[in-house]
Symmetry: C2
Subunit: 348 residues, 2 copies
């Protein structure tokens, strides 16, 4: 009998996979009951629950998410927009986000912009087609179209990795500007005479730009009368090799600079390792600072002085905020500043 049931399963046009109705037939209940057992087993009699679960097992039923989404108007997904998947630093944030969200039953769907606002627009539009229940974004600078789409979607939105007084909705981040101002203050305290900001500023990377602004502001404050120096490429990838290239440019352009403030640890690490090869003593001949506190920073010799940012926690806190919103619990404060921390090591 049971075997017959199993075999009767599957028919019809597109799908030949097991449906809820199939499970219901095997369990001898209605489809609604199966649905209930799946979503709120407490409201069903224990025997029914067991019968249905057994039927699910024997039929190898896997719920169709698209159908569930369409019927309930909840996709149980959260969209996350990051600049690059392969950038480990955002992967950490994603991991924090995903961990907390999975606990609450939400899946994360990822889109990446390659540091382009134009691509961000396409990505957001695309992700909206999947009707996520909430949005997570890296960055606070977006095109009007993006802001508009997000506002019209009328779902919770959390921006991150930066700071602004006018977030689209909620914000979990820190001030890149303040971070670099702090780095400059540290440089002053340590007695560095001529700090230069070095970075790659890709068109859509507003966070790197904010860091440069922070450098400029810091210089104005702590090095009055000294003309700030910046060595900036606008299309180098964020790799150690770029750091090496930027080091050469910076040395050529400002040979008397005694400190290079890089916009990212990856660049700084590449520069520091290149210094090692070229016999440039760090920090005696040239000091180096980075940004991000990547793992490599603590392993280098000398250790890389850098600014640590709460990569994982940003994801986690954003997720917590979103889950609370999605459960209609009382909203938190609109913005959450997680700060940063200067980590002094040997390189500066």
């Amino acid at each position: 009998m049971n075997d017959t049931d199993k075999r009767q399963i599957r028919r019809r046009f597109g799908t030949n996979s097991v449906t809820m109705a199939d499970v219901a037939r095997v369990a001898g209940v209605s489809a609604q009951t199966v649905s209930r057992v799946l979503r709120e087993p407490d409201g069903c009699s224990p025997q029914t629950v067991e019968r249905v679960r057994e039927a699910i097992r024997s039929t190898q039923y896997v719920q169709n998410h698209a159908a569930s989404h369409l019927a309930s108007n909840r996709s149980m997904t959260v969209a996350a927009v990051i600049p690059q998947i392969a950038a480990s630093i955002f992967a950490e944030t994603l991991q924090g986000l995903s961990n907390v969200l999975l606990q609450a039953g939400y899946q994360v769907i990822i889109g990446h912009t390659d540091y382009s606002h134009e691509r961000e627009e396409a990505v957001v539009r695309n992700l909206l087609g999947r009707r996520p229940d909430a949005f997570f974004l890296v960055g606070t600078h977006h095109t009007d179209a993006v802001r508009d789409m997000l506002v019209r979607a009328a779902i919770p939105v959390v921006e991150s990795w930066a700071w602004t007084d006018a977030p689209i909705d909620q914000l979990v981040g820190f001030s890149n500007q303040a971070a670099l101002a702090e780095a400059v203050a540290y440089a002053r305290r340590r007695g560095h005479a001529r700090p230069t900001f070095v970075g790659s500023l890709r068109a859509g990377d507003d966070r790197a730009r904010e860091r440069m602004d922070g450098y400029l502001a810091g210089m104005a404050q702590h090095y009055p009368g000294f003309a700030p120096r910046t060595v900036v490429a606008d299309e180098l990838p964020y790799t150690m090799a770029s750091g090496r290239a930027l080091l050469d440019i910076a040395r050529a352009r400002h040979p008397d600079s005694d400190l290079l403030l890089f916009s990212s640890d990856l660049l700084a690490a590449g520069a520091l390792l290149a210094c090692q090869r070229q016999g440039i003593a760090v920090p005696q001949a040239l000091a180096v600072m980075g940004f991000g506190d990547y793992e490599v920073a603590s392993e280098l010799n000398p250790g890389l002085t850098t600014i640590a940012v709460p990569t994982v926690r940003m994801g986690e806190e954003a997720a917590r905020i979103l889950v609370r919103r999605l459960r209609n619990e009382t909203p938190d404060t609109r913005t959450l500043d997680l700060g940063f921390e200067l980590v002094a090591r040997g390189s500066a």
Copy 2:
């Protein structure tokens, strides 16, 4: 008039977002026509296409993917299962996969297993609920349940990052075993007397285990009569800090070893930098080899001798195979060996 149209949009129960019917009303056509314009504009009159596109713009319509999926029985998504999102090496594969797939109109949905077969099972089940049109997996070792689910799903599957004679469906990879055997052969040629394999072998990381097997096989062949040496932790994360820790253990256990073969560049890099700190001359006092050819390998001093694997290409080729299958084009060969390459630098 147009304004009135816009305002009449939205009503009903769950959704208050613009639907295809809304667009149709504004454009003065049927919903079906809107659908057609979206999917095969070539089969519609240019004026209709323009009218519909204008209506889409004015209403800010974004297609509901779940509904489309349900009706067409194609989700236009490909599921990708990787050990860790934050592991940059898999992120590269993902990037290759995603780039090619996006071109063809497919979205990638990601699941991560944290190197656990148990978690892989849950992840695969979960992803199957979204009815992906195809599956991409890192690794060739899976539980029976996973294989079973995937076979029953009756969709194209590509496994990667390893080699097997019995793939679930298709395979794009290389032999980890052969790679380490080659490393051992290189060690022999270079005159290293006592190579030790050092790695972290997390429970579900069969690729690392295969590398160790390759080391053992290589030793049997190239170092006959010499007892192979392995220093293996089973729960250390794949980080530079772990490499440092493993270096200490290896030095304590096999002080006379003149070459350490690490299961990953990250470990090797951590060890090499630790050697630098401890004043151990590389490669004179101790040679080091890694695996993966991470970016850091070429920046270290000395450069890290390692095995390069086609991280990005594996994703790209897998995607091409999947796209061809999904278009019902003639299937390729079942397996594709992308090989590996020993990159000799200064460390060994």
